[in-house]
Amino acid sequence: MDIRKEILELTRKYYKEKFGGYAYDPQKDLVHYAGRVFDERELVNLIDSSLDFFLTANRYAEEFENNFAEYLGLSNAILVNSGSSANLVALSSLTSKKLGERRLKPGDEVITVAAGFPTTVAPIIQNQLVPVFIDVNLGDYTYISERLAESISPKTRAIFMAHTLGNPFDLDSALQLANTHDLWLIEDNCDALGSRYNDKLTGTFGHLATSSFYPAHHITMGEGGCVVTNDDEIAMIARSFRDWGRDCYCSGGESNTCGKRFSQQFGTLPKGYDHKYVYSHIGYNLKVTDMQAAIGCAQLEKLNGFIERRKENFAQLWDLLSPFQDRLILPKATKNSDPAWFAFPITVRNDAGFSRNQITQFLESNRIETRNLFSGNLLRHPAFEGINCRVVGDLLNTDVIMNNTFFIGVYPGIKIDQIEKIADVFTRFMGGERG
């Protein structure tokens, strides 16, 4: 064990030598839109976990799941290997036969939006359900509340959408509609960890919610994600979908935790068929490794600090860019919400005198990273052409987002000198500088 201590001490030294002392150089460095923010603790956990050489989910995964569930005040956190996998597991779980008549069946409709990331919508299609698209507001980029009620049909069974770029959607309306029509509500909380609505954390309103721990997100484990729920039955189903679809819920390296491994009857299998190899769902293998979870444990301890930094950066950017509101639509928080912003979305007004691509090219050429609001209008992408779906009214704002919207970063790695750099570049562009 002395060797282990020595290795971990050397890891701390290595961190300082390799990553410590970084100073932003405005002449050379990019202002990233997002990125991992870490110190020696993440590196030490990673090495510590690798020295266990357990490899698959173990003590760090257990620690992360427990602490993450506790952070959200929920009873179940199910680690998976990405936010997209979390969405897939969450929605697939609601198709389980174990839910009886409550389960989602092929042809059932799920209300969502097209202005977002594809893997919120992809699981709907993959499960042979029918996405119903409604338009969103410019400025807060969440669904138009009035459209939600209009979207209901006799086939509607669920609402599944994201808190766009950290900004909570109108949860009051969504919950009211879900309760009235007995709908499932799934929050794609991948971009909104730490956001609040009516003083309550997003990700805790729906039957299920998802998180992403890709490096761009509020905390990271490289690749990683999580499904959370307070419903213990759904949690068991979600674990099954994550773990090959098996009925057995033993963790890796464990056997017979149920005590009934060889004594149960399933389907038409022989009585006592090894429970480890009994499958109750058409599942996947979407598990994380313990190394990923180890990084996540160190990150989770910093989450509150990260959230505050995001909010500060957002507020500073808003103040510095507010003089340009005649040409830019700046972001606004949904009513009753306190977002932990993923990014700072901006829409170029139609009469601005310049295009979205002109300003983003100028920003990029001045080493400020930009991104479009993900897919813009998902329905205009090749993969989604001709899908079985329903559109309620029009998606005019969604098209505006596709053409005119972009975002810049607010992540905790951005410091005041980078904020000032961003403001300076915007000012130069608005003053007429091009090229």
Binding site: L51, D52, F54, N58, R59, E62, E65, N66, A69, S75, N76, A77, I78, D232, A235, M236, Y249, S251, G253, E254, T257, C258, G259, K260, R261, F262, S263, Q264, G272
Partner: protein, 237 residues
């Protein structure tokens, strides 16, 4: 089921009931996760290194109430190598590891239930019964059997539950000569149980106890036309 957790515990009180049957109180070093009445834990006697595999363990029904986050209670009888080790090693102050919660032997309190327990199998119902001591929405019939009267560990506890007018308990005792009013001679049997149930086909049955008892009673219930969907078994194997 909430995320199972591995928790170090310290042995508190150990109570011997005679006939090598013991009740053990475990004090967790941190609050235990939420669990349901009828769920169970794994107990390991050897030191657990969290970076490695879980050591040999055995499962025990959690007897303490789900509302208690700082105490666990289990009961066991010495029947094999592991429980023999427990008998000699579980003394106050010893550190052990538990992982919990597990199991889906949940009792549906929204409908009338028939609980049938043999020996220490009663522990699977303990947590549920604790919550129904004063009252319950629906009728609860408890059929509790043991070889000897002294092994009816939960008799005092069940007697306290008489305040609950919706609960009725019958005791089956195999080896004795004189029987009290609420006692039935012999082993638990479907014939005797059915004499005391109104509309047996409308009940939900929950069985906990030794494997042979479970097999015998399950077959008996099925022969009487009770479907497997209405029979819930806390089976180990």
């Amino acid at each position: 089921m909430p995320n199972p957790q591995k928790i170090p515990c310290v042995v508190g009180k150990v109570c011997s009931h005679g006939h090598q049957v013991y009740t053990v109180e475990l004090i967790p070093t941190r609050p235990i996760p939420r669990f349901y009445s009828g769920q169970f834990l794994h107990l390991a006697l050897d030191v657990y290194d969290p970076s490695s595999f879980w050591p040999e363990s055995r499962v025990f029904s959690i007897e303490s109430s789900p509302s208690e986050r700082d105490r666990l209670k289990i009961t066991y009888s010495v029947i094999g190598k592991f429980t023999t080790r427990m008998e000699s090693e579980l003394t106050p102050g010893k550190q052990v590891w538990v992982k919990m919660p597990y199991g889906n032997f949940f009792i549906d309190s929204k409908s009338p239930v028939v609980l049938i327990a043999g020996g220490t199998g009663i522990t699977a119902f303990a947590s549920f019964l604790e919550n129904c001591k004063e009252s319950s929405e629906n009728k609860i019939l408890v059929f509790y059997g043991a070889k000897e009267r002294s092994l009816l560990l939960y008799r005092d506890f069940l007697n306290e539950s008489k305040k609950n007018k919706n609960m009725q308990t019958y005791y089956f005792i195999e080896n004795d000569e004189k029987y009290l009013e609420d006692e039935i001679p012999g082993q638990l049997s479907v014939e005797e149980i059915f004499k005391r149930i109104e509309a047996p086909s409308l009940q939900k049955y929950y069985l906990s106890g030794p494997p042979l008892m479970l097999k015998y009673l399950t077959n008996g219930l099925q022969e009487k036309g009770i479907s497997l969907e209405s029979i819930n078994i806390d089976a180990w194997g």
